[in-house]
């Protein structure tokens, strides 16, 4: 399970074959290049098949992020309405006011596109796209279903690491926006956000290392498939240390996507709107799409790393015997169930973030830094040490396995 047999020093090590470029997507691309309609080949060239597969991936991911942002903005309004005894959208149209986000989008489209007189025009225009691209690119390496043919745009050997690296790039758009706006509020807001995001990457990275260590791989598909079975196999329940690591990860993830109570970058009383003070209309909404996109991606990452990924709490796919060769109906159903699991868990994570936002008061900037450096980083480091000791003492055994052994169970 965990990346094959354990590595022994001195033993000959055969690297698993990794298909080369253009063959990365053997299944769909091959199917496309062999598909014939009325005797006419649809894709006579392999490069066209590869390009089509790539385009489909990009389109799916883009629409996923856009639809997720629509849904989350609506959810944010409704949940905050519930929590704070407001009404939330009720009358805009549609049941439960779900048209509110669409109305917002139309409003943003028709707003005047302003640019300050002293702005650096090129950087001012590019900054929202930099943020948005970084938020989208993280989804390239995130799997939505596992197995031998995982549903993933680009199956990377170092998936976790890639996602973290790309998520860290989002702050670049913020810094550019802050600088190019030629406004002191923007500049100060950008400085704050950059300082915060860069600091929180340290404990975030330390937390992510724990599942990587247990799985013995940075491949997200391997980490997810390690947790197959009942929810007791989820890495969050692997041992007491991973349980705490999960909460530290979630705190740091909330902070690194600038959600309340860590949203110090925009503070009406001190910094006006923060880095996006000077932005309006569609450009501003790109920053918001990026924020919701990265909220979703860190939540999905939490789901895959700690909460079983595409494996539900109850192993429905194996109970219902939904397996089979790739491409068969059973396989498709199982994968779709996995996809639903990942998306549901990700949405749940975002809902918790919304819940936290409308429940807790905001921190001061020095408190934000203290939480990162004095609490999260040391706790994450100690938990990493603890998880290492557990893994050394009881290799590949989770807490519930231990309970079974203690109770004289099977295994």
């Amino acid at each position: 399970m965990a990346g094959g047999p354990p590595f022994r020093p001195g033993a000959s090590y055969a690297a698993p074959p990794h298909p080369c470029w253009l063959e990365e997507e053997p299944y769909v691309a091959q199917f496309l290049s062999e598909l014939e309609i009325f005797g006419v080949a649809v894709c006579p060239w392999p490069w066209l098949a590869a390009a089509l597969v790539g385009l489909v991936h990009v389109g799916l991911l883009l629409s996923l992020v856009a639809v997720a942002a629509l849904l989350f903005i609506w959810l944010e309004r409704k949940i905050s309405g519930r929590i704070q005894d407001r009404l939330g959208p009720t009358r805009v149209g549609g049941k439960f006011g779900w048209l509110q986000t669409l109305a917002d989008g139309l409003k943003l489209l028709t707003k005047e596109d302003l640019m300050p007189a002293g702005a650096d025009r090129l950087l001012f225009k590019i900054a929202p796209y930099v943020s948005f691209c970084a938020a989208i690119s993280a989804f390239i390496a995130i799997p939505f279903a596992g197995g031998a043919y995982p549903w993933i745009a680009q199956h990377l050997n170092v998936g976790v690491f890639f996602v973290l690296a790309v998520l860290g790039l989002e702050v670049f758009g913020v810094i550019l926006a802050g600088y190019s706006s030629a406004s002191k509020w923007s500049l100060f807001g950008a400085m704050r956000e950059a300082a915060q995001v860069v600091s929180y990457e340290v404990p975030l990275g330390l937390c992510v290392v724990v599942p990587v260590m247990i799985a013995g791989s940075m491949d997200l598909v391997v980490i997810g498939d390690l947790q197959a079975g009942w929810f007791t196999q989820w890495l969050v329940f692997h041992d007491p240390f991973t349980l705490i690591t999960f909460w530290v990860y979630f705190t740091c993830a909330t902070a690194s996507v600038n959600r309340a109570p860590f949203d110090l970058a925009e503070a009406e009383s001190e910094l006006v709107g923060g880095f996006h003070t000077e932005y309006s209309g569609l450009r501003w909404s790109f920053f918001f799409m990026a924020e919701y996109g990265s909220m979703f991606s860190v939540s999905i990452l939490a789901a895959i790393l700690f909460l079983g990924g595409w494996h539900g709490p109850i192993p429905l796919t194996s109970l219902m015997n939904l397996s089979g060769e790739a491409g068969s109906l059973g396989w498709g159903l199982a994968q779709a169930l996995g996809l639903a699991n990942v998306l549901l868990k990700g949405t749940l994570g975002v809902c918790v973030m919304i819940w936290i936002r409308w429940t807790l008061p905001r921190l001061r900037i020095d408190q934000v830094m203290a939480v990162c450096l004095k609490y999260c980083t040391p706790i994450a480091a100690v938990m990493f040490l603890g998880a290492t000791c557990w893994h050394y003492q009881f290799p590949h055994q989770s807490f519930f396995d231990m309970l079974l052994i203690l109770g004289g169970g099977r295994r």
């Binding site: 590595f7 020093p9 001195g10 033993a11 000959s12 090590y13 690297a15 698993p16 074959p17 990794h18 298909p19 080369c20 470029w21 253009l22 060239w45 490069w47 590869a50 650096d120 090129l122 950087l123 590019i126 990377l156 050997n157 170092v158 690491f161 890639f162 973290l164 690296a165 790309v166 860290g168 790039l169 702050v171 670049f172 810094i175 550019l176 802050g178 600088y179 190019s180 500049l187 950008a190 400085m191 950059a194 860069v198 990457e201 791989s217 940075m218």
Partner: protein, 191 residues
């Protein structure tokens, strides 16, 4: 179009982007734009690593250079750049001197790169059958002292430890230097 070897095409594309933005860094006068072009150049270099199948090195490039070093650099530039330093004017003599030194280095590097037979590349038939092994595991194993390609050879645990301890010392030193000196609180004199 079937005769185009696409990896070569993408190699030319990304290397062209990397070189183009590197030249843009030189030609730009605005210091923040220079930093931005440097980001694009380094990101194009990262995509070259991805193209070569070295995903770990590519992600490392993104994380350390683009996400870490360059953010700090832009940070520093934003904090320190006053009006008169934002646009940099370079004299013609300085340009010539720079061109001479940089050009000499470039020439040496190109000559060295072309003189190594192992870097001459494969022909297309060989390249298409090439199987690229995953890169993260050998690197990680090498760092904890086990060479995957040659189990008898020593790994890199010792240099890795030395570098780690060195970095730790640097971090502690930086924190010590940067910490605020605690002063005794003095009662402000009534003026």
């Amino acid at each position: 179009m079937a005769s185009i070897y696409w990896p070569s095409f993408f190699f030319l594309l990304f290397s062209g982007l990397a070189c183009g933005f590197a030249v843009a860094v030189l030609c730009s006068q605005n210091i923040v734009r220079m930093a931005f072009y440097l980001v694009l150049s380094l990101a194009a270099t990262a995509s070259l690593f991805f193209l070569a199948g070295a995903e770990f090195v590519g992600a490392m490039q993104l994380m350390i250079y683009v996400g870490g070093t360059l953010v700090l650099l832009v940070f520093g530039v934003m904090l320190t750049s006053q009006e008169r330093f934002v646009t940099m004017k370079v004299a013609v003599g300085d340009r010539l001197k720079g061109l001479l030194v940089g050009g000499a280095l470039l020439g040496v590097l190109i000559a060295a790169a072309l003189s190594i037979p192992a870097w001459q590349g494969l022909d297309r038939g060989e390249a298409e059958t090439l199987v690229v092994p995953p890169t993260a595991t050998p690197i990680g194993m090498g760092l904890v002292g086990l060479r995957v390609d040659d189990p008898a050879a020593a790994g890199y645990l010792f240099p890795f430890e030395i570098v780690s301890v060195h970095l730790l010392v640097v971090l502690i030193g930086a924190a010590y230097l940067a910490r605020a000196k605690r002063k005794k609180y003095e009662e402000p004199s009534a003026a």
